[in-house]
Symmetry: C2
Subunit: 328 residues, 2 copies
DNA sequence: CTGTTAGCGCGTTCAA
DNA sequence: TTGAACGCGCTAACAG
């Protein structure tokens, strides 16, 4: 059996209440008694039982982080940011993997509710968010990151996708490019529709036509990037400049080009989204929109902690963080 | 205030004990009463308070996963495997980031102990493991993955690094290569020393000398791979065949070669370790040792759950999983 | 097969 | 400034 406040109290010659007060930094304690208790804590090697505290305070000191997948540098960089912030407050983070589908996502939400997390940060797996309302009903604060969803409103931390995409395309235009293909994920996902919006806006501003046949949408993965680039390159008049709306599509597209060096022009220039460790070794890449991923995680966690610590329900907050442009 | 077993009991016209039994799938319950309770649970929207259960059972239903870093496909693929297995048992996983250093690692261990996790899976950040003994003292079972450490013994799940490295080098030898460079992490890390062992053994078996000057050790990161490849290529007689002992070193080394296409021979052939999504787009790569990462995570979790569920202390178990060879 | 009851370890009144 | 006593929601032991 582990050491409890009782043991500490006995050793220090005080009551358990006093020990508890010392543990929680209650100011109204005589310095001398505090000292006594503190040494007793060290002597006994006491460790608080969070389960018991949780039962009293109905706070577990853990938050949930729900991501579409674990093996994904974007999501994990956000997770790093979340951990940075959380650790300062002694919070733990239960990471759950939605496996890119709503069913598992809902499943994990149930798990998190049962684990009695104090709050949840979600990077949604799809555009549908009605199942998140369970959290609201359970009184658990939620912060969304990267994407917004339908059927559920909450605080959110997002990148300025529109301007990010705009600036990348504008950059290529200013260096002489005059015709652009597009590869992106489904427009149902808010981040992709925003990036497409920025793409179109840049073309319009510079009087460049948006050509339907060289605008391609798929899912968000490497394979999709490969396939879409193949479709693009097999056209009669393939574009030489392509905006690709996320990192994994970018990787896949590059893979296609590398596998088809003979047929594909070496003059191709790609503007990508997300600047990762490997971005710089992708050939054909000339410029990349960098999201402040870690900062997004930090801000989301900070916002969530604030919600947890203030019971008064405030209106939803939407934080947009600026992107930056990286040239390779 | 939330709904408790009391409310459910009242609604179902039974005692709280019966509700508890239904909740825990106690077999000795009349089907009829079970039905009654189940509907009462649904009607009231009851959700169990795990904190209270934990207090009683001294089990939290969470385990800790301590990794050197989050943004790392190898660690996260292992994490996926852990989650796969855990989720079947309703367990949650608190992921902690050791930030590649012992101090943070120790810090996170304290966090996990305070969170009262039922067990911990560790991918050690260094070769030193004395600080893990805290877990043992707290009565928390531990399983190590990927590496062994000094000063702490526990169950472990490892890849067969020696034979993995051996087979990759042997493969290149059988296709005509006769001189090999080596790039790896510190030999203090058990996985790297094992891979180096396999490398040497292959050369010895085929009567190829191990040439000190083209054997390079660094840390485990991209930058190190870049630098070591540079050192190798700047020698008078640079090797054309190189075994690189992990994925990130491989990426860094490739980066150097791509940045120096003019000077570096295009005949270079690399045998790498770890087969990742991006491995196939790394140029120069001809063969890769693939670790069953996800399976390693699953096995580690399964082993840990077994330890948690059987109080009888058994001798440490060491699981070695076979690697496979992927050609590109 | 089911109910009664006694804590698990802590935080929090209320008195002193 | 401190202590005594109660109860958070649940499970386990024992009765019935």
């Amino acid at each position: 059996m582990a050491i409890t406040v009782k043991d500490v109290a006995l050793k220090a010659g005080v009551s358990t209440a006093t020990v508890s007060r010392v543990l929680n930094n209650d100011p109204g304690i005589k310095p001398q008694t505090r000292k006594k208790v503190k040494t007793a804590i060290l002597d006994t090697g006491y460790r608080m039982n969070k389960a018991a505290r949780s039962l009293k305070t109905s706070r577990t000191g853990t938050i949930g982080l729900l991501v579409p997948e674990l093996v994904n540098d974007f999501f994990m960089t956000v997770a790093q940011g979340v951990e940075d912030e959380l650790h300062n407050s002694g919070y733990g983070m239960i990471i759950c993997n939605a496996n890119e589908n709503r069913r598992d996502e809902e499943d994990r939400i149930n798990l998190l509710i049962e684990q009695c997390v104090d709050g949840v940060i979600i990077i949604p797996a799809s555009s549908e968010g009605r199942h998140f309302n369970k959290l609201r009903r359970a009184g658990i604060p939620v912060v969304m990151v990267d994407r917004l969803v339908e059927g559920f409103e909450a605080d959110a931390v997002l990148a300025d996708n529109v301007n990010g995409a705009y600036s990348a395309v504008a950059h290529l235009i200013s260096s002489g490019c005059r015709r652009f293909g597009f590869i992106g994920g489904s427009l149902e996902l808010s981040n992709f529709s925003e990036r497409f919006e920025g793409f179109k806006r840049a073309l319009t501003d510079y009087n460049i036509p948006v050509e339907e046949p060289i605008i391609k949408f798929g899912d968000v993965h490497v394979e999709s990037g490969y396939d879409l680039m193949e479709e693009l390159m097999n056209q009669d008049n393939p574009p030489q400049n392509i905006f690709i709306a996320n990192y994994f599509l970018h990787v896949g597209a590059t893979k296609y080009l590398l596998n088809n060096r003979e047929t594909a022009s070496s003059e191709i220039r790609i503007a990508g989204f997300d600047d990762m460790a490997l971005s710089s070794i992708l050939g054909f890449s000339s410029v990349t929109v960098s999201q402040p991923m870690r900062e997004m995680g930090r801000r989301a966690a900070a916002l969530l902690l604030r919600r947890i610590n203030t019971k008064t329900p405030a209106p939803c907050q939407l934080i947009r963080l600026k992107t930056s442009l990286v040239t390779h």
